[in-house]
Amino acid sequence: MITKTIDARGSYCPGPLMELIKAMRAAAVGDVIEVWSNDAGSAKDIPEWVEKMKHGLVHVEETDGYYKIAVEKKHA
């Protein structure tokens, strides 16, 4: 299900978003990228970016003090 995982814990906004965007560029349509972040701002901001760019938000899960945000690449 998850094609690639990025551990961006320890990075502040917009670091996790930038890491996600870099991975999304390299990914194929249909791939699911999961980014890990302990930055609460990114957990709110990344879903906003996903909606604006018309990709798919698969989940936002909070576990052990960090967030796992999974995004499906919907278009090139």
Binding site: S11, C13, P14, M18, K52, M53
Partner: protein, 131 residues
């Protein structure tokens, strides 16, 4: 992307927090599909001087000190924004002239040195933020 929304940011403050916020907003906007022009004018050019960076002589408050310690520096944000989106950074010709600075005195994030007329042409029809 000819019809991409335009955002122009006028940065006129040397306070590190405002420089960081403008750089962050500009880079995230560019990565979100906007065409961004950042116009750095007056004292806002001071933190972009190589000498200021070498001496770490930034003008900061409490948040700025924490940013320097923990976050990516503002010019890294701008470099990322340029790589991942449409972001152009311009230095104000007047401030450069009166101070006798050239682009070689500045961090390598600037695309050009321009005047107000050129900036207004770039900004026309889009949103403008002032920091």
């Amino acid at each position: 992307m000819e019809n991409a929304p335009k955002l122009s940011i006028i940065l006129a403050s040397e306070e590190l927090e405002k420089v960081h916020a403008a750089s962050l907003m500009g880079s995230v906007a560019a990565m979100s599909g906007m065409h961004v022009s950042l116009f750095v004018t007056m004292n806002a050019l001071v933190p972009f001087l190589k000498k200021t960076v070498e001496d770490r002589s930034f003008k900061t408050g409490e948040v700025g000190k924490a940013l320097l310690e923990k976050a990516e520096r503002f010019d890294t944000l701008l470099t990322n924004g340029k790589e991942l989106g449409h972001l152009k950074v311009y230095a104000c010709a007047l401030a450069m002239d009166v101070m006798g600075w050239t682009v070689d005195d500045l961090l390598p994030v600037f695309d050009d040195v321009i005047g107000v007329t050129a900036f207004f042409n770039l900004a026309q029809g889009g949103q403008i933020l002032t920091m």
